[in-house]
């Protein structure tokens, strides 16, 4: 099991503790309220992800061949979902990120609870994360 898969399984397990969606949302809201490591100088249009109903800024840094992701949103629940994504993808190698299959999104039922436009937003975020990973991989040759 790759570490990306491991983190995903942990998330699925954690969320399965909640019986209804209101509780899951509460969990996402709490995650969204947490302080995050995001440098506000990246709050610029060039770091904005297209296709989200709320604004999402994302940037990435590389440290010892692992990538860390930093993101911010003006909507709390979106911020909570981002926190989950960052948990999964941060401190992973570019290859692991590029090859990651994201079954946790289906498993926790998140997709069914997002409207089509919102699900598209989530997909845009993942796409952007993978684009960063590809970029770092190419840079390192």
């Amino acid at each position: 099991m790759t570490s990306v898969e491991k983190v995903q399984n942990e998330i699925v397990e954690e969320l399965s503790l909640f019986s209804d969606w209101m509780e899951k949302y509460e969990y996402l809201i709490e995650l969204g309220k947490d302080e995050i490591n995001f440098d506000k100088k990246f709050m610029k249009d060039e770091f904005l992800i297209n296709g989200c109903q709320s604004k999402v800024w994302l940037y990435a840094k590389e440290n010892n061949s692992k990538i860390s992701f930093h993101a911010y949103s003006d909507a709390i629940m979106t911020k909570g979902i981002i926190a989950l994504l960052i948990k999964v993808f941060s401190n992973q190698s570019p290859d692991d990120i590029i090859n990651a299959k994201l079954d946790f999104i289906d498993k926790i039922g998140l997709k069914n609870h997002l409207s089509a436009t919102r699900a598209n937003g989530l997909m845009s975020m993942i796409k952007q994360i993978k684009i960063y990973a590809i970029g770092f991989k190419e840079k390192n040759g």
Binding site: D20, W21, M22, Y25, E26, I29, Q53, S54, K55, D74, A75, I76, M77, T78, H113, R118
Partner: protein
């Protein structure tokens, strides 16, 4: 008196459950629900009379043509137009605006002006931008006051002999403001400016009489009038419609076709190229009957009572920030809650069974003017109740507590 039980029982969709909660449908400005009277009409059409109109000699075609034209008659009476030739069936409000914004290009030259307002829906902005690009005409934009009303002084200032057409909404889909159309039309008449009114948000909520309003064009969609999607109406004064060139070419809109030259059919066929949405048009006629049975004056009163009740509740919330505070409003309430994102509220309300709109409601320039990324919008229809509004506010405070 409105027979409430009877009205609600005409809308089976109101029994839908969302996450085990009863649906509370407050997105009527986006689309209204369809009563069984209308859905039965659509079903019956396909069971008993589906055929193409205006051309067959057979029984089915004859009765469908008759019903289709009967709908036109109903629409004419409903909006107070003088002639049936003045009623064009389109795909919807957007299509109606595009029709005029395209055909009217014939009368525009570089330097002419088109007047719109800051509160317009994108559908009443973009077609005019396309029109301006093609003709070299300029778009001028009338300001909206902080209460969310058209700044009439500004409108008066902008009007001049170069203003060939002004296109303004009857009721703002975001602010709910009911615009003073008669007053605006009077001002426009001084310069022979043609007046186009987007009636999408008005037609199901108050009596509209295009002759009394003295407008040149008026348009609306069936699906905001308890009818089906994909059908709309363009009213235009006969003398102007006569002068406008056709919008699209095809069947029905021709008189005689040769490869050298085609002559066009008379009104209204000139603007109805191709096979129309026949069942939809017939169903629109039924929707109008449905509305008239209830009585639009009573609907207006009832919805005003709902808005009043809503305002009493919202005034008590110190974290409620209304967008659009005109005293002359239709039953549309856009707002934000302090320090909370509209999207978060929308998701939680949805989870509790309440359907509202979040975002910019296709009025980005209006939101931008007031420095808003978006708002939450609750909009009411004839089946909504005070109890639903109470439930809505319970949900709203619950959501706010979770988020804040």
């Amino acid at each position: 008196m409105i027979d409430f039980e009877k009205i609600r029982s005409s809308f089976p969709i109101l029994n839908v459950k969302v996450n085990d909660n009863k649906l509370v449908y407050f997105d009527n400005a986006a689309t209204t629900q369809t009563p069984t009277q209308v859905t039965n009409t659509i079903r019956d059409y396909f069971y008993k009379q589906n055929s193409n109109i205006h051309r067959g000699v057979h029984h089915l075609s004859n009765i469908s043509t008759e019903d289709f034209e009967q709908s036109r008659k109903k629409v004419r009476e409903f909006v107070g137009a003088e002639k049936e030739e003045e009623i064009i069936f389109t795909k919807g409000t957007t299509d109606s605006i595009n029709l005029v914004a395209t055909s009217f290009q014939k009368f525009l030259k570089s330097g002419d002006e088109i007047l719109i307002s800051e509160m317009e829906h994108h559908s009443n902005i973009v077609p005019w931008q396309l029109c301006a690009e093609k003709t070299g005409a300029k778009i001028k934009v009338v300001s909206v006051t902080k209460e969310g009303e058209i700044d009439i002084d500004h409108l008066e200032k902008l009007l001049n002999e170069k203003t060939k057409i002004l296109s303004i909404t009857h009721i703002s889909n975001t602010l709910g403001t009911i615009n003073p159309i008669t007053e605006i039309t009077k001002l426009a008449r001084k310069f022979d400016t043609k007046v186009f009114i987007d009636g999408a948000q008005a037609i199901a909520h108050q009596k509209v009489n295009v002759t009394e309003l003295d407008v040149d064009f008026y348009c609306f969609s069936a699906h905001k009038l308890y009818g089906p999607t994909g059908v709309g109406v363009l009213y235009g004064k006969e003398e102007i419609l006569e002068k406008l060139p056709p919008y699209q070419g095809g069947g029905e809109m021709i008189e005689l076709v040769t490869f050298e030259k085609t002559t066009y059919a008379k009104l209204p066929s000139k603007f109805e190229a191709g096979t129309p949405n026949i069942s939809g048009v017939i169903a629109l006629g039924k929707a109008i009957e449905f509305i008239e049975d209830i009585n639009l004056d009573l609907i207006f009163e009832y919805e005003a009572m709902l808005l009043n009740h809503y305002n009493e509740k919202s005034n008590k919330l110190e974290y409620y920030e209304p967008f659009g505070t005109s005293l002359n409003k239709s039953a549309i309430a856009s707002f934000n809650l302090k320090k909370v994102h509209h999207y978060d509220i929308g998701v939680l309300l949805d989870n509790m069974g309440v359907a509202v709109r979040t975002g910019h409601h296709c009025t980005q320039p209006l939101h931008k003017k007031f420095n808003l990324d978006g708002t939450i919008r609750a909009s009411f229809g004839i089946y909504n109740t005070k109890n639903e509004i109470d439930y809505f506010f319970d949900c709203l405070s619950r959501a706010y507590k979770m988020l804040y």
